[in-house]
């Protein structure tokens, strides 16, 4: 159980790791391509917490802080030109490809994860947070440091791409 009353001084570090290392790892795994990279990213996040976590004044934001830090660390290791297009909702195809939940059930987790990795990088993080973390759109926007409308449009487009890719992997017959 995490003591959310204060930052590093009163939050038990091991308790913090216990509570968040799994979800952080899953988020990292959805962003990166390998288990090793995801582990490094997760470790780095907690390392940053150990050094800078005391600067966090609002203990209720520990979770958002950790996910934001992980995402920043991920972006640091990526070359990107900073010209991510702002995709408006009107551009998103409204009709999702049709795929049955039972098809997903038959797939292994690796295949679904691979589908996530096939997405444009722009859509991967918001979609991972959408599926993995059960955090609000407002929190997702905070983690990714983009406007809420951008989060919504990226999730919509990302879902369409993901389902399309999964549909292509649907076993025949």
């Amino acid at each position: 159980m995490i003591d959310d009353r204060d930052t590093t001084t009163s939050i038990d570090f091991e308790g913090l790791v216990n509570a968040y290392y799994q979800p952080l790892y899953r988020f990292a795994l959805s962003l990166t391509h390998t288990e090793a990279e995801a582990c490094d990213l997760t470790q780095q996040t907690f390392y940053v917490w150990a050094r800078k976590g005391h600067q966090l004044r609002d203990p209720s934001k520990v979770k958002t802080w950790l996910f934001t830090t992980l995402h920043r660390e991920f972006l640091k290791g990526r070359r990107h030109d900073g010209r991510f297009p702002h995709v408006e909702m009107s551009e998103v195809e409204h009709e999702m490809p049709t795929i049955s939940p039972s098809v997903i059930d038959q797939m292994d987790a690796g295949t679904v994860l691979e589908a996530l990795h096939q997405l444009d990088e722009l859509y991967r993080a918001p979609l991972a947070l959408f599926y993995l973390e059960d955090i609000s759109y407002k929190e997702i926007a905070a983690v990714l440091e983009v406007p809420m409308g951008t989060v919504q449009s990226r999730i919509a487009r990302g879902k369409a791409q993901l389902q399309q890719w999964l549909l292509s992997k649907e076993p025949c017959g």
Partner: protein
């Protein structure tokens, strides 16, 4: 709102997570009234749940937690250099030194120096009288520090009057007297607590000899133009 618009919104809806999010309320209400849309939503929710379950099934490798705890040893929050105990001690010591200097400059010596400086210059008597009783009544009226009678040792000096002075917002009475053939003698009176207190002491300040003491509710400062021997005749 039509079905396309509702689908666009509900495609992002997560039951149990986004139920309180107002952006979905209207679309959800619309879906409840539209069977085809409702079926579509059920399928989308089921599909999302299936994908979510697969993604969440990924577990961190054994040993990751141990590595995190080992590698990210919690360092105590960086303490600003000025908050370091050593520096705090240095700062306190410096403060004590400053306080001592302040006491020397702003304590009793400062008060004494100011009074000596005042009588050393040309000044005008606020009350000119040779009657001590008249002088005492004037002081009482102005609520200035006063004594009922001059000390017996000062009985031979002649009262000339007095000045009403101020020491950092507090009233000080200056009694001006003349010792025949010896020069002027001054006695400063201040209420205890309004000027720095002092132990009984005799000292020379510039060309003046001074004696100070505290008695009852008053702090006394006697100033003469003569030497120490003369001063002691008035004590």
């Amino acid at each position: 709102m039509d079905s396309q618009q509702a689908k666009q919104i509900l495609g992002r809806y997560r039951p149990g997570v986004d139920d309180d999010d107002p952006q979905f309320a209207e679309a959800l209400a619309f879906a409840r009234r539209t069977p085809e849309l409702s079926r579509w939503l059920d399928q989308q929710v089921a599909l999302d749940a299936a994908i979510r379950a697969k993604l969440r099934s990924a577990a961190a490798p054994v040993g990751l937690k141990t590595r995190i705890l080992a590698n990210a040893k919690v360092e105590p929050p960086a303490i600003a250099w000025w908050r370091h105990p050593g520096w705090i001690a240095v700062a306190l010591a410096a403060l004590i030194v400053v306080a001592m200097v302040w006491h020397r400059t702003a304590g009793f010596p400062a008060y004494r120096a100011k009074m000596v400086a005042f009588v050393s210059r040309e000044y005008k008597l606020d009350l000119k009288t040779k009657s001590f009783e008249e002088f005492r009544q004037a002081l009482a009226k102005g609520k200035y520090p006063a004594i009922s009678a001059l000390p017996p040792a000062l009985a031979k000096v002649t009262l000339e009057g007095g000045c009403l002075l101020d020491w950092r917002g507090h009233k000080v009475t200056l009694i001006c007297m003349e010792a025949p053939g010896q020069g002027d003698v001054w006695l400063c009176l201040a209420e205890r607590g309004t000027v720095p207190e002092t132990v009984r002491q005799v000292g020379k300040v510039g060309k003046m000899m001074t004696a100070a003491w505290t008695d009852g509710n008053l702090v006394y400062l006697l100033i003469t133009e003569g030497d120490e021997a003369e001063l002691r005749r008035y004590l």
